[in-house]
Symmetry: none
């Protein structure tokens, strides 16, 4: 199953936004073991869009199109699909009724232009969009599938994961065989080191295949097997997974499954502990990631973001003597932040993060992030040396804090 991506939008050509959708989709196609050899960007021009679609349809079994399915006049992906597939546009009365109802429920009158969203190429099936009003579309055109999704990532990604990838994976198994992937997730080693530790397995891999994927501080090892059925695929995957796990040891924290935020909240629930955070360098990002998990309030109580030195004293009670002797970016200050937060937040467990996120170095090289974890069983801190880039240091620093918390909750303190 060869899949191409066509991203639609003059704003992409003009460089006003970066095509992060293609990267997100590409990463998920790879995880699903689907072949993906080309991505295209075209502007909001009917002839050029239709040409790009036709060309992609000749090379690929499925073309995922992002953007251009909203309600406004310059959203012309539906028209381009009609032109590329050679089918007329039809109007879906039932869907138009649903749209009117949805607006009425919010107490607004629907702008007539929204009715464009009830038009679709003849034969197209709607793909539910739980986060927005514009449904996606799936159209069989000759030998290929044309699949249109919104350009807004928050709407596009859930549709991709819930509808499109499962559909493509099922289609890929059209010869009766199934393609089953397992994603072994690791934290704490660079990608090149993981690749080195598994180098002989990678070289020998046939079925299952092996691939390495880096994402936001985690390195993933994807094993993909093709087999007559799930059971046969599992029989191929089990022994290889066992060897990979043995080689990588405690760096492996999960196979597939939930994001690390949800894993940590699950461990907290198991132990019956509540958690709070105390943040400096990550500035609320750790709290935002934990509270991004539905149901977080069962374990998560709150955070104190103390961005300035004064706030660390005022809000967290970090002793001036600790700040003076050890500085803002130190294990001692991180531990004092955790202890101070534990006395103020109604939480059993506290994770504290300080550090130097840049752009200017703060007492330590940019990218130095210090994490402390305090639980009813003890407390410990650790210095992480991350890339000297503000955004990456904040993201990888909050990921690191979540992983150190995970290991503390499992009783595997990284040092005693």
């Amino acid at each position: 199953m060869i899949v191409e991506i066509v991203a639609v939008g003059t704003e992409l050509l003009l460089g006003q936004i970066v095509n992060s959708n293609a990267a997100e989709i590409g990463s998920r196609l790879a995880e699903a073991g689907l072949d993906h050899y080309r991505q295209t960007v075209v502007g909001d021009n009917l002839d050029r869009m239709a040409a790009a679609l036709r060309e992609a349809m000749e090379r690929a079994d499925a073309v995922v199109v992002t953007g251009g399915i909203g309600p406004t006049q310059d959203d012309i992906t539906r028209e381009a699909m009609c032109a590329a597939a050679g089918v007329p546009m039809v109007f879906d009365e039932a869907f138009a009724g649903l749209l009117r109802e949805r607006w009425a429920r919010r107490g607004w009158e629907m702008p007539e232009s929204n009715l464009r969203q009830a038009e679709h190429p003849e034969g197209a099936v709607m793909i539910p969009n739980p986060r927005g009003t514009a449904p996606g579309l799936r159209l069989r055109a000759g030998d290929a599938w044309l699949i249109a999704l919104p350009g807004v990532p928050q709407e596009m990604l859930p549709m991709l994961e819930e509808s499109v990838i499962p559909f493509l994976v099922a289609e890929a198994g059209g010869d009766g065989s199934v393609l089953v992937s397992r994603v072994i997730r690791t934290w704490g080693l660079p990608e090149s080191r993981v690749a080195e530790m598994l180098g002989d397995l990678f070289a020998a891999a046939g079925n299952p295949t092996m691939a390495f994927l880096a994402s936001a501080g985690e390195i993933k090892v994807r094993l993909t097997a093709r087999a007559p059925d799930d059971r046969a695929a599992a029989a191929l995957l089990d022994p290889l997974e066992a060897v990979v796990r043995e080689r990588l040891g405690r760096r492996v924290f999960a196979v597939g499954g939930d994001p690390i935020e949800a894993i940590v909240l699950g461990l907290l629930a198991e132990r019956g502990w509540t958690v709070g955070t105390a943040e400096s360098a990550t500035g609320g990002l750790l709290a935002a990631r934990l509270t991004g998990v539905p149901g977080a309030s069962a374990s998560y109580v709150g955070s104190i973001v103390a961005y300035t030195a004064r706030a660390k004293q005022d809000l967290l009670g970090v002793p001036a003597a600790v700040l003076e002797e050890h500085g803002l970016v130190s294990e001692e200050t991180a531990l004092a932040m955790a202890a101070g937060a534990a006395g103020r937040l109604p939480a059993d467990v506290v994770v504290a993060v300080t550090g130097s996120a840049g752009p200017e170095p703060l007492e330590a090289p940019v990218g130095t992030i210090v994490v402390a974890v305090q639980t009813p069983e003890g407390a410990a801190a650790r210095v992480l040396r991350l890339p000297p880039d503000r955004e990456r240091a904040r993201t990888l620093g909050s990921t690191g804090a979540l992983h150190l918390l995970r290991r503390a909750l499992l009783g595997e303190w990284w040092r005693t």
Copy 2:
């Protein structure tokens, strides 16, 4: 002069990196008034790269290729250029000598693999690379130019600006016209309503053109003019911008420029005020967005994330009577959170957010977000009714809080 971009790299297809090069190049092509209708990404595969180059050469007058010109075995852009243009590879003894000298000056012996960089398609001219070792290449192939640049942005961009854009503009043959865009940014109206309010202008638009873009709660109207020079473009854009601004009124908050987080921090710096946040429904996201701006610490002091009802009392001193009478999701509670935080954080201004983010409704329909702002000049609250989706409610809620803060800082309180 039509220019296409072909980015080379399997890591782009796998989503391990985002194709920011294409956005940067696209933006500079537009500034230079060069036509640019398509971008392509292909992996490190000779046949597919050569095919992508040949197709682009048929549509365009010049093809800018990024990536694949380094020293290692998987850098095969030179080979793909030979295949696409039908010319042999030649070895440049003089350049090989220069490479050896450069390494010798640094006291190192050059790895033999680096000699690949002295190979180039017959007829190609080298493009100087002041920041790295791999020179770019320019090759006339049939009716088109093939221009290869490194994939590393820090090397590619100076080469683009110093060598490639001037060359392409000269080749474009003194049409000398420029393409100038203005992005008018609005908050507070749905996209379909903005499109309706400007429908006649959109329909009549020729030069400048008009387009609508939705991103994270903001609706943008992009005007693009083609003209002999910047001054003439401004003369075309000014009157249309004035009409758009007049129609949309105070919904327009900026033309181009910084993200709303940075705009708000700028307004705070102008007034000499510091800011803190008190968050419930957004769970740290507002703090994370503000501290994501480099230099945020000049104005931003910290946040109290009070996720549970008890934390709102313990950490923010919200009176139990207020919670009991008005509930967690109310203007009164948001104002009490702001007042409580103002007494605890060393900040002149406080923004507080509470609400029902889901998945289960909390005293109000999911998507109900309440924002309160307190400044030395006063305090006010407002209820936002956002989509009933946890992630969207949190994102659009924090965007709404930033915009209400902006209006309070400008003295345009949304109600008195």
